[in-house]
Amino acid sequence: MQLVRRLAVASAIGLVLYGIGLWLQGGVIEYVQRIVFLAGINVILAVGLNLINGTTGQFSIGHAGFMAVGAYGAAFSGVKLQPVLQNWIGAGAVADGLTLNVGLLVGALLAGLTGLLVGAPSLRLRGDYLAVVTLGFGEVIRISFNNAKFLGAATGFSGDSPSGLPALTTFFWVYAWAIAILILIRNLTFSQTGRSLAAIREDEIAAEAMATPTTRLKVLAFSLSAASAGIAGGLFAFMQPSIRPEDFRFDKSIDMIVMIIIGGLGSISGAVVGGIFVAVTLELMRDLQQYRLVLYALLLIVIMLVRPQGLLGSRELSEVLRSRFGRPKAQAAK
């Protein structure tokens, strides 16, 4: 019964997304379309990063590397898979959707594995050291792609066709994945596992004393957040003619940090707000790149000085609204 109910809800949401997608294609200018796509992709990035940085309190600043792994993984496998699928079931939305999703899953798996490889040795380090070593790994990953001839090296990867990578990313898929990841991570956060992650953040030694398998959980959260970044990377790849290592510099990791800091470290709804904010400013200030980064820099500094907990602190939008309009309830659930 639970399954049937859930499938019904999912189908309803799917139909709504499909409808919005059609409307967007028809009526809205491409500029706005791109912002909407990026907002969805950013939500996936932010919610994923929030799991490890916010909920678990392990600060990683190299996630652009995982996004790159996902992007290249998805792009490469998608490009190889597409002709095979099209031969088999004919060109069209079904083949496209299948290519995209299989590509995304490959990218996510590779990104998650990379996260495991990076996380396992690194998560023993505390605070600033962890931040720097993740930065290091992020750069090593990018430099590796920069030197990978079969993936286009510095010029980038654009697949086998002259028109570049297939444009498989649609509104429907971006938001279907965004909603799915949002729900999965939300459920995880409010479960015993999420509680254990928060305990690790609060006091790792006490958490261990309470039989929490801290190393295993930290690596798990890290890998999940890497896989999430991988999905975002894959979606990003299929809306560009090509992807280059340039797209995944430290700047991208900074963008992700801005996303979760603005909304509030530890808050999922905050991550959503932050993701949307960065997407909007990214596009609106496309020609004013330096000004955008100066803005982000000032935001980071000012937020830390004035309101380090960000917009929502570690609370969720639902709690904030409830405490303003309903019974006050101390729900520091993470």
């Binding site: 459920n187 015993q192 659930a333």
Partner: protein, 258 residues
Amino acid sequence: MSLLSLEKVDKIFGGLSALKQVSLEVPERAIFGLIGPNGAGKTTLFNVITGVYSPDGGVIRFEGQSIGGQSPARIAHRGIARTFQNIRLFRAMTVEENVMVAGHHLHQASVLGAMLRTRAQIADEARLRKRAGELLEIMGLGKHAEDVAGSLPYGSQRRLEIARALMLQPKLLLLDEPAAGMNSQEAGELERQIRFLRDQMGLTIVLVEHNMAVVMSVCEAVHVVDHGETIAHGTPENVKKDPAVLAAYLGKSTEEVA
């Protein structure tokens, strides 16, 4: 058989001997006291037993099995729970959540189950919440279940730490200065709770304590350490009169002697 036994345990920090050939036996269902002047090595002993440090010499046995060198999480899983001298709560989480974190025995759903919010997962949560509620009631914190842990008064925070430790379904409970900062009324309540935990819940309890009134009242056996070494062992009455113990204490500060 003793529940916990230490045989000639050593612990060295950078050339300094924090524990020297410490041996003791804690029988099952005992309320056992560990006392000594500040810096004597009592918390270090707790840390070695619970796996925060590995012993540099000697054997530590729990239920007959050697546990020296195992990880804190593993030892906690085996049935040794503890509280901390400087209260280590999960301050930003609620009281209830603090206790639920320790509920690993009651938790069966997998991570995937958690993400998908399966029926097993939902049942798990309910079970955890219920048990946490019961333990909070026992420690007198039932009304505060949804308060933020960091906002509790000091005495309540100490009791919360005990409730959290109990959630592990331990056989051995190590309490590090549970009466610190308590007035005599609160301390009396603590003594009742300790006896309750042993009598009604079958726990074996070891406590490190400076409050001698509590030690005299509640402990059946007392082990005294100073400078990492055992200097006396016996009933509270005997230990109180032991000249070595008096020398160790009176040499430091008189206010700690009952």
